[in-house]
Amino acid sequence: MADIFKSATELGIIYAIMALGVFISFRTLNMPDLTVDSSFTLGAAFSATLCVSGYPVIGLIVAFIAGCAAGCITALLTTKLKIQPILSGILMMLALYSINLKVMAGKSNIPLSKILGIPTVFSPFYDTKLDRYIALILSTAVLALIIMLLYYFLKTKFGLVLRATGDNDKMVRAAGVDTDFTTIVGLALSNGLVALSGALLAQYQGFADISMGIGMVVIGLASVIIGEVIFGTRSLLRRLIAVVLGAVMYRFIIAGALELGMPATDLKLVSAVIVALALSMGTIRDKVISLAGRQAAMSRYKGGGR
């Protein structure tokens, strides 16, 4: 039981990096970006390939840069070629599938398991005192660093206009800022984080797989929304931490469902249902409130009884 708790936390923290990426596109740019599904795999592909060559740390860095490049292209399709954001994401998702296979040298799976002796960022700590906790320590350190940098960045002069772009792009242009540029930087950063998350996950779980990114954008959205609903949106720091807690909570929900005997193949269905429920929560709540109000008024009218 404790192990399930531990691995759910570890996964949650790694996925939180991806969820922060989705937060940037979905919340600060107000643009659901489907590139995420493939840029996650792109990161994992570079990471695994470079691990096999013996460079696990460089693998993480290259993954981040490759993710940024993917995000840039999606943004260019949207801003310069005026393709709808959703469609730009779908096009990139499709194009990256082929690219990912090329990065993985035509194989759909690259194993990195301990037995093969392939180095990862975690492998130097195997069979030391830290063995049990290294995944948690390293991924938490990476996540903490990212949150600090992101928090600082979003409070800079450029960060402010990036955040305002999703709120009101007209106002941002009226303040003399090229919203095409803010969108490009935002999507690049977003997909860079997503790819980094995929890169770290590949090294953590011991393989990269061509289909590991399917549904990632939905998981990201679920994390963002769960975080917002439970932990609020008052200040920027609170929002960032809410995303992380949302990602961890999501993992706990999934781990709990698996523990209760849900077949693993139903995971995606459950994810989709969670997001649909979370997105419609506001509407459902309003409906319930107005229905309750009407019934109360009705019962008053009839003098209490029905």
Binding site: T156, A164, N168, A175
Partner: protein, 264 residues
């Protein structure tokens, strides 16, 4: 200051819905001039402002601002010189960000936006002082999100944002039309104060004939994409709202009965 020559803008060119929005408009404004613009719906007032701001590009003609040709300059680059307040109070601010953050975005207009802190202590103090001048108590709510402000408060804030870095030109597109009359009055007074204080070259569209004569130094009337009346100085001082309405009927050939014009 501003010089518009033979400006032409045609929407949906070549289709059955073709509409000549600007028909050879010529307009010259001097430094510090405050022009009010009146005209019925579809007269081309908003199109004129949007073409100056760069939202739409002219089909022909050109626009000089301070002797610089801005005709083909993208909207965001022109914004370094032009302050704008829109009709819709939601348009001028980012609702999910704080009052302070909104002002910081406006305060960086025309300056490079790098990775330096968005709001310094000195900025904060300046914003507080400027907000206090509005007399709406916003200086004590700087960390609150703009989404919680009323329409009038937002327009006052947007006005401050448009002028906090002195623009060469201020464009106001019926910025009080969506407000309650008493708040609209207050925002108009604030506008007047700011324009006078900074000696701003201003172009204000209004549906309120009385406001068109009461504020500013010059009034132009537009109809079907042309400027059909242009009065200033002594001539303008002697004019009454009734006369203006009469002119409107004669020159524009439009009945006012079914129009949105306000005669208060």
């Amino acid at each position: 200051m501003l010089k518009i020559t033979n400006a032409v803008k045609i929407f949906n060119k070549g289709s059955v819905n073709e509409k000549i929005a600007l028909d050879n408009v010529n307009l010259e404004m001097a430094e510090g001039e405050f022009v009010t613009v009146i005209g019925s719906n579809g007269a081309g007032k908003s199109t004129l402002l949007n073409c100056i701001a760069g939202v739409h590009e002219l089909d022909s003609g050109n626009i000089l601002l301070d002797d610089k040709d801005i005709t083909r300059m993208p909207e965001y680059k022109r914004s370094a010189y032009i302050g704008r307040v829109f009709q819709d109070p939601l348009m001028g601010t980012a609702f999910d960000m704080t009052i302070e953050e909104n002002l910081a975005i406006a305060y960086a207009r025309g300056k490079p936006r790098g990775l330096t802190p968005g709001i310094t202590k000195a900025d904060s103090a300046l914003f507080r002082e400027k907000l206090a001048c509005l007399g709406l108590g916003l200086e004590d709510r700087m960390k609150e999100k703009v989404g919680r402000l009323s329409g009038g408060q937002r327009q006052a804030l947007t006005l401050l944002m448009a002028t906090i870095v002195r623009p060469k030109l201020l464009l106001l597109d019926e910025h009080t039309a969506a407000l309650d009359p008493s708040i609209a009055r207050r925002v108009l007074e604030l506008t007047d104060e700011m324009v006078k204080e900074n000696n701003l070259c201003t172009l204000m569209i209004t549906h309120n004939m009385k406001a068109a004569l009461e504020y500013g130094t010059r009034t132009i009337m537009m109809n079907e994409g042309r400027i059909i009346m242009d009065i200033s100085g002594k001539e303008r001082e002697s004019i009454t709202v009734e006369w203006l309405v009469e002119q409107f009927g004669k020159k524009g050939g439009v009945e006012l009965a079914n129009d949105r014009m306000l005669l208060i």
